[in-house]
């Protein structure tokens, strides 16, 4: 007989949908949550709140609670530089260096035909529009140093070249195949500073 009450079973099922969470981890999480009911309620509220409020910034596709994110609204940011990243995590990592004062553009992934991702599944055309519409002096292509990340950088260079904007690629002292969001701040600062023109 399955001794797990339906509510617990439902919770387990939801948790197991999360990346990196298998049945065993899910069980441990549930145990912990049920042992700390007030924490569990706070977690539930946080999840519900975020799910309701959080969306993608209309401009740069960072996570935001307004139509345009706080960064895009910040007059102190350098609007002439756009740093293109695969996902919000990578933008957070670049931001954490404290060395970058421009804006971002989140692609929402990379070109990845094996997983059915082409340019139309990414925010590529929004980026091109953005570059055309605004005064942009430089686009930094900061996709990860993986095959897909590199290919995406090549692709973006190709579609952005006609706009005449200066295109740079961050330099990879980063471990090849690694991820921007796992790089330490010193390495990331250096690869940002060492970015090179793409031609």
């Amino acid at each position: 007989m399955d001794l797990r009450p339906p509510s617990v079973r439902a919770l387990l099922e939801e948790l197991e949908q999360l990346p990196g969470v298998g049945p065993r981890t899910a069980t441990r999480l549930v145990q912990h949550l049920l042992r700390h009911p007030s924490g569990a309620r706070r977690l539930a509220a946080a999840v519900a709140g975020a799910a309701q409020i959080v969306r993608h910034c209309r401009e740069c596709f960072l996570l935001a609670e307004e139509e345009r994110c706080r960064l895009c609204q910040d007059p102190a940011r350098d609007r002439e530089v756009i740093c293109v990243v695969e996902d919000p995590l990578n933008a957070w990592a670049v931001e954490a260096t404290g060395e970058y004062s421009g804006l971002y553009h989140v692609l929402g992934g990379t070109l990845d035909p094996l997983h059915g991702v082409g340019p139309d599944e990414l925010t590529v055309s929004a980026l091109v529009e953005r570059v055309k519409r605004n005064v942009v002096g430089e686009v930094i292509l900061a996709t990860n140093p993986t095959v897909e990340g590199e290919a995406t950088a090549h692709y973006l260079a190709r579609v952005l070249r006609p706009t005449g904007v200066r295109l740079t690629r961050i330099a990879f002292g980063l471990p090849a195949g690694g991820e921007i969001s796992y790089a330490d701040q010193v390495t990331l600062t250096r690869s940002l500073a060492g970015r090179r023109g793409m031609d």
Partner: protein, 373 residues
């Protein structure tokens, strides 16, 4: 380099054993199906993560079990290194690689205990499919430039992406993006291969001389039907890029990428005739041995010491005097493990060394020294 200890758990038909191995030459005898090849395979897989026979990795796990462990202690440059691989069979075989308590990436692990593998299957280097020779050459490339492993992985990944993209009707722009990576990594790969082949060619010439191969001696050339194998490496990237663009339509139909280093080969010829047509079975085996010994010599030059050598079915297809010359090439190497189903033929030829006996997957070390059951 000497593998001092070997631990096998759940590997092929080998009993779960911890063995002390010896420096110098060890001959493994035993009836067919005893596990001699499996034992040498354990050594090869421990060091190289691949066998000398063409078997799928999932076959390395003992039937009816779902994991294996191989571990060893290797002595190199005066210090001892512990290496281990834990393999688990689900739909595929997945392995975690360890040096002591530290988990390693494949490229690091493969440098801990490289094993020079020789076996009856080596004839495929001469008569087999191009893939055999590519893998052989790429192994030499890796030994000279370990960073090439990543290059190769990148290249393969980009190939799969391009094929999938073309098959699913993706646009030229995205295709071009992956072709850009194929061009740069492919050009570098060809360059490294040509470099490795030069080193290999020189060593092959020396090995053939040592083995007493009469003129004309076999020659090995880089063979690229697509014309992308030239020595003009500066233009290579550009040439690969335009060849890929040109073939895009055709490739989309055929669902493969028809040009590039993954299609290249080594052309082995004797006096102008392809070796596979010119040589007898025995000569084919000897040439394959010479190729393996040449790769071993390149690796030795690079390491400054001799890697572990395994040679399965050492006497198969070789006449007595050839066998003697082959064994003479192995003598004096730090550690050489060889097997034979007829050790009584091999024992008189080897000078010194231990003789071990294998039966039903159990290796009986020592004791039997120079006296066969």
């Amino acid at each position: 380099m000497i593998l001092r200890r070997l631990r096998a758990r759940g590997f092929r038909n080998l009993a779960d054993q911890d063995l002390q191995l010896e420096a110098g030459l060890t001959l493994l005898g035993g009836p067919n199906g005893a596990g001699k090849s499996n034992f040498l395979e354990a050594v090869a897989v421990l060091g190289n993560l691949s066998s000398f026979r063409p078997i799928s990795p999932s076959q390395l796990v003992c039937w009816g079990r779902e994991k294996y462990t191989l571990a060893g202690v290797v002595r190199r440059a005066g210090s001892e290194v512990e290496l281990r691989q834990d393999a688990r069979l689900t739909r595929y075989l997945t392995r975690s690689l360890w040096r002591g308590g530290r988990r390693l990436a494949m490229g690091e692990y493969l440098q801990l205990c490289p094993v020079a593998p020789l076996s009856g299957y080596d004839r495929a280097l001469v008569v087999g499919a191009p893939e055999e020779r590519r893998r052989f050459l790429d192994r030499v490339v890796f030994h000279l430039h370990p960073e090439a492993l990543r290059l190769l992985q990148q290249y393969r990944r980009a190939l799969r992406q391009r094929s999938e993209l073309l098959a699913s009707g993706g646009g030229d722009g995205a295709a071009e993006a992956f072709e850009e990576i194929l061009a740069s990594s492919g050009a570098r790969l060809i360059e490294l291969r040509l470099q490795a082949l030069r080193a290999l060619g020189a060593c092959l010439e020396a090995e053939l001389a040592e083995l007493g191969w009469p003129a004309p001696r076999p020659q090995v050339r880089y063979h690229a039907l697509d014309g992308l194998g030239g020595p003009d490496a500066t233009q290579l990237g550009t040439r690969i890029r335009s060849a890929l663009a040109r073939m895009r339509r055709v490739d989309a139909q055929q669902r493969r990428t028809s040009v590039g280093p993954h299609r290249h080969d080594l052309a082995i010829s004797v006096g102008g005739t392809p070796a596979r047509e010119a040589l007898s079975a025995g000569q084919t085996k000897l040439l394959a041995v010479a190729l393996r010994l040449a790769a071993l010599a390149v690796l030795e030059q690079r390491l400054g010491s001799s890697p572990v050598v395994v040679f399965d079915d050492v006497d198969a297809e070789l006449d007595a005097s050839t066998l003697m010359r082959v064994l003479a090439r192995l003598a004096g190497r730090a550690q050489v493990l060889i097997s034979s189903a007829r050790p009584e033929i091999v024992v008189p030829v080897v000078k010194g060394g231990a003789v071990w006996w294998v039966e039903s997957g159990r290796v009986k070390t020592g004791g039997a020294e120079r006296s066969l059951p």
